[in-house]
Protein backbone atom coordinates (compact mmCIF):
# COMPACT_ATOMS: atom_id res chain seq x y z
CA UNK A 1 0.00 0.00 0.00
CA UNK A 2 2.75 2.38 0.97
CA UNK A 3 4.51 1.44 -2.26
CA UNK A 4 1.58 2.39 -4.46
CA UNK A 5 1.26 5.70 -2.61
CA UNK A 6 4.92 6.39 -3.15
CA UNK A 7 4.81 5.53 -6.83
CA UNK A 8 1.83 7.85 -7.19
CA UNK A 9 3.81 10.65 -5.57
CA UNK A 10 6.76 10.07 -7.86
CA UNK A 11 4.56 9.89 -10.94
CA UNK A 12 2.71 13.09 -10.08
CA UNK A 13 6.01 14.83 -9.44
CA UNK A 14 7.19 13.95 -12.95
CA UNK A 15 3.91 15.08 -14.49
CA UNK A 16 4.29 18.38 -12.67
CA UNK A 17 7.89 18.63 -13.85
CA UNK A 18 6.82 18.12 -17.47
CA UNK A 19 4.27 20.89 -17.11
CA UNK A 20 6.93 23.22 -15.73
CA UNK A 21 9.17 22.34 -18.69
CA UNK A 22 6.57 23.88 -20.98
CA UNK A 23 5.34 26.77 -18.89
CA UNK A 24 8.65 28.14 -17.63
CA UNK A 25 10.26 28.55 -21.08
CA UNK A 26 7.09 30.26 -22.33
CA UNK A 27 7.27 32.69 -19.44
CA UNK A 28 10.98 33.24 -20.05
CA UNK A 29 10.47 33.93 -23.75
CA UNK A 30 7.87 36.59 -23.04
CA UNK A 31 9.93 38.15 -20.22
CA UNK A 32 13.14 38.27 -22.29
CA UNK A 33 11.41 39.92 -25.24
CA UNK A 34 9.72 42.49 -23.03
CA UNK A 35 12.87 43.20 -21.03
CA UNK A 36 15.17 43.64 -24.02
CA UNK A 37 12.58 45.09 -26.37
CA UNK A 38 11.05 47.79 -24.20
CA UNK A 39 14.11 50.12 -24.28
CA UNK A 40 13.78 50.25 -28.08
CA UNK A 41 10.14 51.31 -28.02
CA UNK A 42 9.49 54.99 -28.37
CA UNK A 43 7.28 57.11 -30.54
CA UNK A 44 9.95 57.46 -33.21
CA UNK A 45 10.42 53.68 -33.44
CA UNK A 46 6.70 53.20 -34.03
CA UNK A 47 6.11 56.12 -36.37
CA UNK A 48 9.30 56.53 -38.42
CA UNK A 49 10.55 54.96 -41.65
CA UNK A 50 13.45 52.49 -41.37
CA UNK A 51 16.81 54.19 -41.98
CA UNK A 52 20.41 53.18 -42.74
CA UNK A 53 19.43 49.88 -44.35
CA UNK A 54 16.99 49.06 -41.53
CA UNK A 55 19.66 49.45 -38.86
CA UNK A 56 18.04 52.54 -37.42
CA UNK A 57 14.85 54.52 -37.59
CA UNK A 58 11.46 52.95 -37.09
CA UNK A 59 9.20 50.18 -38.27
CA UNK A 60 6.13 52.23 -39.24
CA UNK A 61 5.66 50.82 -42.77
CA UNK A 62 5.90 47.26 -41.45
CA UNK A 63 3.20 47.93 -38.86
CA UNK A 64 0.92 49.55 -41.45
CA UNK A 65 1.60 46.74 -43.95
CA UNK A 66 0.63 44.09 -41.41
CA UNK A 67 -2.55 45.98 -40.51
CA UNK A 68 -3.56 46.18 -44.20
CA UNK A 69 -2.86 42.49 -44.73
CA UNK A 70 -4.79 41.41 -41.68
CA UNK A 71 -7.72 43.65 -42.57
CA UNK A 72 -7.76 42.35 -46.14
CA UNK A 73 -7.62 38.74 -44.96
CA UNK A 74 -10.57 39.21 -42.64
CA UNK A 75 -12.69 41.07 -45.22
CA UNK A 76 -12.26 38.04 -47.45
CA UNK A 77 -12.45 35.23 -44.90
CA UNK A 78 -15.14 36.40 -42.46
CA UNK A 79 -18.17 36.41 -44.83
CA UNK A 80 -17.22 33.09 -46.46
CA UNK A 81 -16.28 31.50 -43.15
CA UNK A 82 -19.43 32.66 -41.37
CA UNK A 83 -21.75 31.50 -44.18
CA UNK A 84 -19.90 28.17 -44.34
CA UNK A 85 -20.39 27.80 -40.59
CA UNK A 86 -24.11 28.59 -40.99
CA UNK A 87 -24.33 25.92 -43.65
CA UNK A 88 -22.63 23.31 -41.46
CA UNK A 89 -24.61 24.09 -38.32
CA UNK A 90 -28.06 24.89 -39.77
CA UNK A 91 -28.42 23.22 -43.15
CA UNK A 92 -26.04 20.29 -43.50
CA UNK A 93 -27.44 16.82 -43.05
CA UNK A 94 -25.37 14.01 -41.64
CA UNK A 95 -24.30 12.58 -44.98
CA UNK A 96 -21.25 11.95 -47.10
CA UNK A 97 -21.07 15.54 -48.38
CA UNK A 98 -20.99 16.86 -44.85
CA UNK A 99 -18.22 14.41 -43.98
CA UNK A 100 -16.18 15.51 -46.99
CA UNK A 101 -16.61 19.19 -46.08
CA UNK A 102 -15.40 18.51 -42.55
CA UNK A 103 -12.43 16.57 -43.89
CA UNK A 104 -11.61 19.45 -46.24
CA UNK A 105 -11.63 21.89 -43.31
CA UNK A 106 -9.33 19.61 -41.31
CA UNK A 107 -6.98 19.44 -44.27
CA UNK A 108 -7.09 23.15 -44.93
CA UNK A 109 -6.05 23.79 -41.33
CA UNK A 110 -3.19 21.30 -41.68
CA UNK A 111 -1.66 22.55 -44.92
CA UNK A 112 1.83 23.92 -44.11
CA UNK A 113 1.97 27.70 -44.19
CA UNK A 114 4.71 27.73 -46.81
CA UNK A 115 2.48 25.67 -49.12
CA UNK A 116 -0.13 28.44 -48.80
CA UNK A 117 2.64 30.75 -49.91
CA UNK A 118 3.30 28.60 -53.00
CA UNK A 119 -0.40 28.43 -53.76
CA UNK A 120 -0.79 32.20 -53.43
CA UNK A 121 2.20 32.69 -55.72
CA UNK A 122 0.85 30.32 -58.39
CA UNK A 123 -2.78 31.49 -58.30
CA UNK A 124 -2.84 35.16 -57.32
CA UNK A 125 0.60 36.47 -58.26
CA UNK A 126 1.26 34.56 -61.49
CA UNK A 127 -2.02 33.14 -62.84
CA UNK A 128 -4.38 36.02 -61.97
CA UNK A 129 -1.52 38.52 -62.50
CA UNK A 130 -2.14 40.45 -59.26
CA UNK A 131 1.65 40.53 -58.86
CA UNK A 132 3.29 40.61 -55.45
CA UNK A 133 0.73 42.85 -53.79
CA UNK A 134 -1.37 43.43 -50.70
CA UNK A 135 -4.28 41.86 -52.59
CA UNK A 136 -2.40 38.59 -53.24
CA UNK A 137 -1.08 38.44 -49.68
CA UNK A 138 -4.46 39.17 -48.09
CA UNK A 139 -6.24 36.53 -50.16
CA UNK A 140 -3.56 33.94 -49.31
CA UNK A 141 -3.79 34.74 -45.60
CA UNK A 142 -7.59 34.79 -45.85
CA UNK A 143 -7.74 31.23 -47.18
CA UNK A 144 -5.27 30.17 -44.50
CA UNK A 145 -7.43 31.48 -41.61
CA UNK A 146 -10.70 30.24 -43.12
CA UNK A 147 -10.69 26.95 -41.14
CA UNK A 148 -10.19 28.82 -37.84
CA UNK A 149 -13.16 31.08 -38.56
CA UNK A 150 -15.40 28.24 -39.77
CA UNK A 151 -14.63 25.98 -36.80
CA UNK A 152 -15.11 28.59 -34.07
CA UNK A 153 -18.19 30.14 -35.70
CA UNK A 154 -19.76 26.74 -36.13
CA UNK A 155 -19.22 25.92 -32.46
CA UNK A 156 -20.81 29.25 -31.52
CA UNK A 157 -23.84 28.63 -33.76
CA UNK A 158 -24.30 25.08 -32.52
CA UNK A 159 -24.19 26.16 -28.90
CA UNK A 160 -27.39 28.20 -29.41
CA UNK A 161 -30.12 25.94 -27.92
CA UNK A 162 -32.38 24.12 -30.34
CA UNK A 163 -35.45 25.43 -28.48
CA UNK A 164 -34.66 29.01 -29.60
CA UNK A 165 -35.00 27.90 -33.21
CA UNK A 166 -38.16 25.92 -32.54
CA UNK A 167 -39.90 28.86 -30.88
CA UNK A 168 -39.00 31.16 -33.74
CA UNK A 169 -40.15 28.68 -36.39
CA UNK A 170 -43.38 28.02 -34.53
CA UNK A 171 -44.13 31.75 -34.58
CA UNK A 172 -44.13 31.58 -38.36
CA UNK A 173 -40.61 32.85 -39.05
CA UNK A 174 -38.86 31.32 -42.03
CA UNK A 175 -35.62 29.39 -41.64
CA UNK A 176 -33.45 32.31 -42.79
CA UNK A 177 -35.35 34.76 -40.56
CA UNK A 178 -34.72 32.46 -37.63
CA UNK A 179 -31.02 32.29 -38.42
CA UNK A 180 -30.72 36.01 -39.06
CA UNK A 181 -32.68 37.27 -36.04
CA UNK A 182 -32.40 34.50 -33.44
CA UNK A 183 -29.37 32.26 -34.00
CA UNK A 184 -26.80 34.78 -35.26
CA UNK A 185 -27.26 37.44 -32.55
CA UNK A 186 -26.81 34.78 -29.89
CA UNK A 187 -23.69 33.44 -31.57
CA UNK A 188 -21.94 36.76 -32.20
CA UNK A 189 -19.48 36.65 -29.28
CA UNK A 190 -18.29 33.22 -30.40
CA UNK A 191 -17.95 34.35 -34.01
CA UNK A 192 -16.03 37.40 -32.83
CA UNK A 193 -13.66 35.24 -30.79
CA UNK A 194 -12.88 33.13 -33.85
CA UNK A 195 -12.42 36.17 -36.03
CA UNK A 196 -9.95 37.76 -33.64
CA UNK A 197 -7.99 34.51 -33.26
CA UNK A 198 -7.85 34.37 -37.06
CA UNK A 199 -6.57 37.96 -37.13
CA UNK A 200 -3.86 37.08 -34.65
CA UNK A 201 -2.77 34.13 -36.73
CA UNK A 202 -2.71 36.18 -39.94
CA UNK A 203 -0.68 38.92 -38.27
CA UNK A 204 2.03 36.51 -37.13
CA UNK A 205 2.48 34.30 -40.19
CA UNK A 206 5.48 34.87 -42.39
CA UNK A 207 5.71 32.03 -44.89
CA UNK A 208 2.44 32.76 -46.76
CA UNK A 209 3.48 36.37 -47.43
CA UNK A 210 7.10 35.67 -48.40
CA UNK A 211 6.41 35.44 -52.14
CA UNK A 212 2.97 37.04 -52.34
CA UNK A 213 3.46 40.52 -50.92
CA UNK A 214 6.40 41.07 -48.60
CA UNK A 215 8.92 43.71 -49.55
CA UNK A 216 12.45 43.41 -48.20
CA UNK A 217 12.92 47.14 -47.75
CA UNK A 218 10.35 49.70 -48.86
CA UNK A 219 10.54 52.95 -46.93
CA UNK A 220 7.16 54.24 -48.06
CA UNK A 221 3.55 53.39 -47.44
CA UNK A 222 1.57 51.32 -49.95
CA UNK A 223 -0.76 53.46 -52.05
CA UNK A 224 -3.14 50.80 -53.32
CA UNK A 225 -3.92 47.12 -52.84
CA UNK A 226 -1.75 46.36 -55.88
CA UNK A 227 1.39 47.63 -54.12
CA UNK A 228 3.95 45.56 -52.29
CA UNK A 229 4.24 46.22 -48.59
CA UNK A 230 6.53 45.51 -45.68
CA UNK A 231 5.12 43.37 -42.89
CA UNK A 232 6.17 42.94 -39.27
CA UNK A 233 6.94 39.19 -39.19
CA UNK A 234 8.91 39.34 -42.45
CA UNK A 235 10.72 42.45 -41.25
CA UNK A 236 11.77 40.60 -38.08
CA UNK A 237 13.02 37.70 -40.21
CA UNK A 238 14.95 40.05 -42.48
CA UNK A 239 16.68 42.05 -39.76
CA UNK A 240 17.55 38.93 -37.76
CA UNK A 241 19.01 36.86 -40.60
CA UNK A 242 19.54 38.85 -43.79
CA UNK A 243 20.98 42.17 -42.66
CA UNK A 244 24.29 42.12 -40.78
CA UNK A 245 25.11 44.41 -37.85
CA UNK A 246 21.59 45.36 -36.87
CA UNK A 247 21.50 46.69 -33.32
CA UNK A 248 20.07 43.99 -31.07
CA UNK A 249 17.70 46.57 -29.59
CA UNK A 250 16.00 47.04 -32.97
CA UNK A 251 15.48 43.29 -33.34
CA UNK A 252 14.05 42.85 -29.88
CA UNK A 253 11.92 45.96 -30.35
CA UNK A 254 10.43 44.58 -33.56
CA UNK A 255 9.82 41.19 -31.90
CA UNK A 256 8.14 42.95 -29.01
CA UNK A 257 5.78 44.94 -31.25
CA UNK A 258 4.80 41.80 -33.18
CA UNK A 259 4.36 39.72 -30.03
CA UNK A 260 2.32 42.44 -28.33
CA UNK A 261 0.05 42.78 -31.37
CA UNK A 262 -0.62 39.02 -31.51
CA UNK A 263 -0.99 38.55 -27.76
CA UNK A 264 -3.28 41.56 -27.51
CA UNK A 265 -5.63 40.04 -30.07
CA UNK A 266 -5.60 36.71 -28.23
CA UNK A 267 -6.27 38.48 -24.95
CA UNK A 268 -9.27 40.31 -26.43
CA UNK A 269 -10.61 36.99 -27.74
CA UNK A 270 -10.19 35.35 -24.33
CA UNK A 271 -11.95 38.24 -22.58
CA UNK A 272 -14.90 38.13 -24.98
CA UNK A 273 -15.20 34.38 -24.51
CA UNK A 274 -15.00 34.70 -20.74
CA UNK A 275 -17.64 37.44 -20.50
CA UNK A 276 -19.90 35.57 -22.86
CA UNK A 277 -19.74 32.40 -20.78
CA UNK A 278 -20.58 34.39 -17.66
CA UNK A 279 -23.53 36.18 -19.22
CA UNK A 280 -24.93 33.19 -21.08
CA UNK A 281 -28.61 32.88 -20.31
CA UNK A 282 -28.97 29.19 -21.04
Amino acid sequence: MRNTRRSQKIAFFFLFLATLLIVIPVGLIVVIIFQKGLPAINWQFLSDMPRQGMRAGGIYPAIIGTLYLVLGAIVFALPIGLLAAIYLSEYAKDNLLNRIIKLAIVNLSGVPSVVYGLFGLALFVVFLKFGASILSGSLTLGIMILPIIITTSREALESVPQSFREVSLSLGASKWQTIRHIVLPNAIPGVLTGTILGLGRAAGETAPILFTVAAFYLPQLPKSIFDQAMALPYHLYVISTQVPNVDEKVRYGTALVLLTLVLFMNLVAIIIRYNFRKKKKW
Binding site: T4, R5, Q8, F12, S109, P112
Partner: protein
Amino acid sequence: MAIRKIKEFAIEKLILICGLASIFFVVLIFLFLAKEGLSVFKTVTPFNFLFGKSWYPISEPAQLGILPLIYGSLLVTFGAAIISIPIGVACAVYIAEIAPTKIKEILKAGIELLAAIPSVVLGFIGMVTLVPWVKTTFNLPTGLTALSGSIILAFMAMPTIVSIAEDALYSVPKSYKEGAFALGATHWQTIYRVLLPAASSGIVAAVMLGIGRVIGETMAVMMITGNAAVIPQSILVPVRTLTATIAAEMGEAVVGSEHYFALFAVGIVLFIISFIINVTADIFLHKRH
Protein backbone atom coordinates in the same frame (compact mmCIF):
# COMPACT_ATOMS: atom_id res chain seq x y z
CA MET B 1 -43.97 37.84 -50.10
CA ALA B 2 -42.67 36.57 -53.41
CA ILE B 3 -39.71 38.90 -53.23
CA ARG B 4 -38.88 37.65 -49.77
CA LYS B 5 -39.01 34.07 -51.03
CA ILE B 6 -36.64 34.88 -53.88
CA LYS B 7 -34.30 36.68 -51.51
CA GLU B 8 -34.22 33.77 -49.11
CA PHE B 9 -33.69 31.33 -51.95
CA ALA B 10 -30.69 33.36 -53.09
CA ILE B 11 -29.28 33.58 -49.58
CA GLU B 12 -29.63 29.86 -49.00
CA LYS B 13 -27.84 29.10 -52.26
CA LEU B 14 -25.06 31.49 -51.24
CA ILE B 15 -24.77 29.68 -47.91
CA LEU B 16 -24.51 26.36 -49.72
CA ILE B 17 -21.78 27.71 -52.00
CA CYS B 18 -19.79 28.99 -49.01
CA GLY B 19 -20.33 25.64 -47.30
CA LEU B 20 -18.62 24.00 -50.24
CA ALA B 21 -15.82 26.61 -50.29
CA SER B 22 -13.41 24.57 -48.17
CA ILE B 23 -13.63 21.63 -50.57
CA PHE B 24 -13.12 24.07 -53.43
CA PHE B 25 -10.02 25.59 -51.84
CA VAL B 26 -8.41 22.23 -51.01
CA VAL B 27 -8.89 21.12 -54.61
CA LEU B 28 -7.69 24.49 -55.91
CA ILE B 29 -4.51 24.33 -53.80
CA PHE B 30 -3.75 20.86 -55.09
CA LEU B 31 -4.48 21.78 -58.71
CA PHE B 32 -2.21 24.81 -58.67
CA LEU B 33 0.60 22.94 -56.93
CA ALA B 34 0.24 20.18 -59.53
CA LYS B 35 0.01 22.62 -62.44
CA GLU B 36 3.37 24.17 -61.55
CA GLY B 37 5.05 21.24 -59.84
CA LEU B 38 4.47 18.34 -62.21
CA SER B 39 6.45 20.07 -64.96
CA VAL B 40 9.63 19.19 -63.13
CA PHE B 41 9.16 15.57 -64.14
CA LYS B 42 9.98 16.48 -67.72
CA THR B 43 13.60 16.89 -66.62
CA VAL B 44 13.89 14.45 -63.73
CA THR B 45 12.10 11.16 -63.08
CA PRO B 46 9.90 10.97 -59.97
CA PHE B 47 12.25 8.32 -58.56
CA ASN B 48 15.37 10.45 -59.02
CA PHE B 49 13.53 13.46 -57.63
CA LEU B 50 12.51 11.69 -54.42
CA PHE B 51 15.64 9.61 -53.92
CA GLY B 52 18.34 11.67 -55.62
CA LYS B 53 21.12 12.41 -53.17
CA SER B 54 22.10 15.89 -54.32
CA TRP B 55 20.16 19.12 -54.37
CA TYR B 56 22.03 21.65 -56.52
CA PRO B 57 19.15 23.45 -58.22
CA ILE B 58 21.19 26.21 -59.83
CA SER B 59 24.22 24.30 -61.06
CA GLU B 60 24.48 23.35 -64.74
CA PRO B 61 22.89 20.86 -65.23
CA ALA B 62 20.69 21.22 -62.18
CA GLN B 63 20.60 18.29 -59.75
CA LEU B 64 17.17 17.99 -58.25
CA GLY B 65 17.24 15.18 -55.69
CA ILE B 66 15.33 15.99 -52.53
CA LEU B 67 16.56 13.08 -50.40
CA PRO B 68 18.81 15.35 -48.26
CA LEU B 69 15.82 17.62 -47.64
CA ILE B 70 13.59 14.68 -46.71
CA TYR B 71 16.28 13.44 -44.30
CA GLY B 72 16.55 16.96 -42.88
CA SER B 73 12.81 17.16 -42.27
CA LEU B 74 12.67 13.65 -40.81
CA LEU B 75 15.61 14.23 -38.48
CA VAL B 76 14.29 17.52 -37.12
CA THR B 77 10.77 16.10 -36.79
CA PHE B 78 12.02 12.96 -35.08
CA GLY B 79 13.99 15.01 -32.55
CA ALA B 80 11.03 17.27 -31.89
CA ALA B 81 8.72 14.26 -31.46
CA ILE B 82 11.02 12.62 -28.89
CA ILE B 83 11.04 15.81 -26.84
CA SER B 84 7.44 16.92 -27.25
CA ILE B 85 5.43 13.68 -27.00
CA PRO B 86 6.35 12.64 -23.43
CA ILE B 87 6.33 16.20 -22.11
CA GLY B 88 3.12 17.12 -23.95
CA VAL B 89 1.17 14.03 -22.89
CA ALA B 90 2.41 14.33 -19.30
CA CYS B 91 1.35 17.98 -19.22
CA ALA B 92 -2.08 17.06 -20.60
CA VAL B 93 -2.51 14.44 -17.85
CA TYR B 94 -1.43 16.95 -15.22
CA ILE B 95 -3.86 19.60 -16.46
CA ALA B 96 -6.77 17.22 -16.97
CA GLU B 97 -6.41 15.16 -13.81
CA ILE B 98 -4.18 16.61 -11.14
CA ALA B 99 -3.99 20.40 -11.25
CA PRO B 100 -6.39 22.32 -8.95
CA THR B 101 -9.01 24.34 -10.88
CA LYS B 102 -7.29 27.73 -10.48
CA ILE B 103 -3.87 26.48 -11.52
CA LYS B 104 -5.50 24.61 -14.38
CA GLU B 105 -6.84 27.88 -15.81
CA ILE B 106 -3.41 29.52 -15.55
CA LEU B 107 -1.70 26.55 -17.20
CA LYS B 108 -4.22 26.47 -20.03
CA ALA B 109 -3.69 30.19 -20.60
CA GLY B 110 0.07 29.54 -20.69
CA ILE B 111 -0.38 26.83 -23.33
CA GLU B 112 -2.62 29.12 -25.40
CA LEU B 113 0.02 31.81 -25.10
CA LEU B 114 2.64 29.44 -26.48
CA ALA B 115 0.37 28.51 -29.38
CA ALA B 116 -0.12 32.19 -30.19
CA ILE B 117 3.56 33.18 -30.37
CA PRO B 118 4.40 33.66 -34.08
CA SER B 119 6.93 31.17 -35.40
CA VAL B 120 9.28 33.93 -36.54
CA VAL B 121 9.43 35.21 -32.95
CA LEU B 122 10.24 31.72 -31.67
CA GLY B 123 12.87 31.45 -34.39
CA PHE B 124 14.37 34.76 -33.31
CA ILE B 125 14.45 33.76 -29.64
CA GLY B 126 15.98 30.44 -30.65
CA MET B 127 18.69 32.27 -32.58
CA VAL B 128 19.71 34.52 -29.71
CA THR B 129 19.41 32.07 -26.82
CA LEU B 130 19.34 28.41 -27.86
CA VAL B 131 21.79 28.48 -30.76
CA PRO B 132 24.73 29.92 -28.76
CA TRP B 133 23.90 27.48 -25.93
CA VAL B 134 24.01 24.45 -28.25
CA LYS B 135 27.25 25.71 -29.74
CA THR B 136 29.12 26.00 -26.44
CA THR B 137 27.55 22.97 -24.73
CA PHE B 138 28.49 20.56 -27.49
CA ASN B 139 31.59 22.48 -28.52
CA LEU B 140 30.50 22.81 -32.15
CA PRO B 141 31.65 25.12 -34.96
CA THR B 142 28.07 26.35 -35.23
CA GLY B 143 24.96 26.13 -33.08
CA LEU B 144 22.68 26.15 -36.11
CA THR B 145 21.93 22.44 -35.99
CA ALA B 146 19.13 19.92 -36.33
CA LEU B 147 19.09 19.68 -32.52
CA SER B 148 18.37 23.41 -32.12
CA GLY B 149 15.56 23.07 -34.65
CA SER B 150 14.16 20.03 -32.85
CA ILE B 151 14.02 21.83 -29.51
CA ILE B 152 12.24 24.91 -30.87
CA LEU B 153 9.86 22.78 -32.94
CA ALA B 154 9.06 20.68 -29.88
CA PHE B 155 7.67 23.85 -28.34
CA MET B 156 5.55 24.46 -31.39
CA ALA B 157 4.13 20.93 -31.28
CA MET B 158 3.36 20.95 -27.57
CA PRO B 159 0.29 23.23 -27.56
CA THR B 160 -1.38 21.00 -30.17
CA ILE B 161 -0.47 17.81 -28.32
CA VAL B 162 -1.50 19.15 -24.91
CA SER B 163 -4.87 20.59 -25.91
CA ILE B 164 -6.04 17.63 -28.01
CA ALA B 165 -4.76 15.00 -25.56
CA GLU B 166 -6.45 16.92 -22.75
CA ASP B 167 -9.76 16.86 -24.64
CA ALA B 168 -9.35 13.13 -25.16
CA LEU B 169 -8.80 12.58 -21.43
CA TYR B 170 -11.87 14.69 -20.55
CA SER B 171 -14.07 12.74 -22.92
CA VAL B 172 -13.43 9.44 -21.10
CA PRO B 173 -16.73 8.66 -19.30
CA LYS B 174 -16.66 9.50 -15.61
CA SER B 175 -17.95 6.03 -14.74
CA TYR B 176 -14.62 4.47 -15.83
CA LYS B 177 -12.79 6.50 -13.22
CA GLU B 178 -15.38 5.88 -10.53
CA GLY B 179 -15.28 2.16 -11.26
CA ALA B 180 -11.49 2.10 -10.86
CA PHE B 181 -11.66 4.07 -7.61
CA ALA B 182 -14.37 1.75 -6.29
CA LEU B 183 -12.07 -1.20 -6.91
CA GLY B 184 -9.49 0.43 -4.68
CA ALA B 185 -7.10 1.76 -7.34
CA THR B 186 -5.08 4.86 -6.50
CA HIS B 187 -5.45 7.99 -8.63
CA TRP B 188 -2.22 7.25 -10.49
CA GLN B 189 -3.17 3.62 -11.12
CA THR B 190 -6.49 4.84 -12.48
CA ILE B 191 -4.72 7.30 -14.76
CA TYR B 192 -2.29 4.90 -16.37
CA ARG B 193 -4.35 1.70 -16.29
CA VAL B 194 -7.78 3.13 -17.15
CA LEU B 195 -7.79 6.73 -18.40
CA LEU B 196 -4.75 6.63 -20.69
CA PRO B 197 -5.78 3.41 -22.48
CA ALA B 198 -9.36 4.67 -22.83
CA ALA B 199 -8.14 7.96 -24.30
CA SER B 200 -5.43 6.35 -26.42
CA SER B 201 -6.94 6.96 -29.85
CA GLY B 202 -7.39 10.66 -29.04
CA ILE B 203 -3.83 10.85 -27.76
CA VAL B 204 -2.52 9.20 -30.93
CA ALA B 205 -4.42 11.83 -32.93
CA ALA B 206 -2.93 14.57 -30.73
CA VAL B 207 0.58 13.29 -31.37
CA MET B 208 -0.02 13.02 -35.12
CA LEU B 209 -1.37 16.54 -35.38
CA GLY B 210 1.56 17.79 -33.34
CA ILE B 211 3.96 16.09 -35.72
CA GLY B 212 2.01 17.49 -38.68
CA ARG B 213 2.56 20.95 -37.28
CA VAL B 214 6.31 20.25 -36.96
CA ILE B 215 6.77 18.96 -40.52
CA GLY B 216 4.98 21.98 -41.94
CA GLU B 217 6.75 24.57 -39.81
CA THR B 218 8.88 26.90 -41.87
CA MET B 219 10.23 30.13 -40.45
CA ALA B 220 11.67 28.99 -37.12
CA VAL B 221 13.29 26.02 -38.84
CA MET B 222 14.80 28.15 -41.55
CA MET B 223 16.27 30.55 -38.97
CA ILE B 224 17.96 28.00 -36.72
CA THR B 225 18.82 24.78 -38.56
CA GLY B 226 21.67 26.20 -40.62
CA ASN B 227 20.23 25.30 -44.05
CA ALA B 228 22.85 22.89 -45.37
CA ALA B 229 21.31 20.70 -48.06
CA VAL B 230 23.43 17.61 -47.38
CA ILE B 231 22.45 14.25 -45.94
CA PRO B 232 23.02 14.71 -42.18
CA GLN B 233 25.33 12.28 -40.33
CA SER B 234 24.25 13.33 -36.83
CA ILE B 235 21.79 15.60 -35.05
CA LEU B 236 24.55 18.09 -34.27
CA VAL B 237 25.08 19.28 -37.84
CA PRO B 238 23.20 21.86 -39.92
CA VAL B 239 20.34 20.48 -41.99
CA ARG B 240 17.81 21.86 -44.43
CA THR B 241 14.17 20.86 -44.36
CA LEU B 242 11.62 20.64 -47.20
CA THR B 243 9.78 23.73 -45.95
CA ALA B 244 12.88 25.86 -45.44
CA THR B 245 14.08 25.01 -48.96
CA ILE B 246 10.91 26.43 -50.50
CA ALA B 247 10.97 29.53 -48.31
CA ALA B 248 14.65 30.23 -48.82
CA GLU B 249 14.91 29.58 -52.55
CA MET B 250 11.61 30.64 -54.08
CA GLY B 251 12.62 34.29 -53.87
CA GLU B 252 15.49 33.68 -56.29
CA ALA B 253 13.88 31.11 -58.57
CA VAL B 254 12.78 32.51 -61.92
CA VAL B 255 9.09 31.91 -62.64
CA GLY B 256 8.86 29.05 -65.14
CA SER B 257 12.39 27.75 -64.54
CA GLU B 258 13.28 24.18 -63.59
CA HIS B 259 14.14 25.37 -60.11
CA TYR B 260 10.71 27.02 -59.76
CA PHE B 261 8.92 23.83 -60.84
CA ALA B 262 11.07 21.73 -58.50
CA LEU B 263 10.12 23.90 -55.50
CA PHE B 264 6.45 23.44 -56.33
CA ALA B 265 7.06 19.69 -56.54
CA VAL B 266 8.50 19.90 -53.02
CA GLY B 267 5.25 21.67 -52.12
CA ILE B 268 3.27 18.73 -53.52
CA VAL B 269 5.29 16.35 -51.33
CA LEU B 270 4.49 18.48 -48.27
CA PHE B 271 0.82 18.74 -49.22
CA ILE B 272 0.53 14.96 -49.55
CA ILE B 273 2.32 14.35 -46.23
CA SER B 274 0.04 16.79 -44.40
CA PHE B 275 -3.02 15.32 -46.14
CA ILE B 276 -2.14 11.79 -44.97
CA ILE B 277 -1.39 12.93 -41.42
CA ASN B 278 -4.59 14.93 -41.08
CA VAL B 279 -6.87 12.28 -42.54
CA THR B 280 -5.34 9.58 -40.30
CA ALA B 281 -5.55 11.80 -37.23
CA ASP B 282 -9.19 12.54 -38.07
CA ILE B 283 -9.96 8.83 -38.24
CA PHE B 284 -8.36 8.32 -34.81
CA LEU B 285 -10.28 11.28 -33.39
CA HIS B 286 -13.63 9.87 -34.51
CA LYS B 287 -12.85 6.34 -33.43
CA ARG B 288 -13.83 6.92 -29.83
CA HIS B 289 -17.33 8.17 -30.59
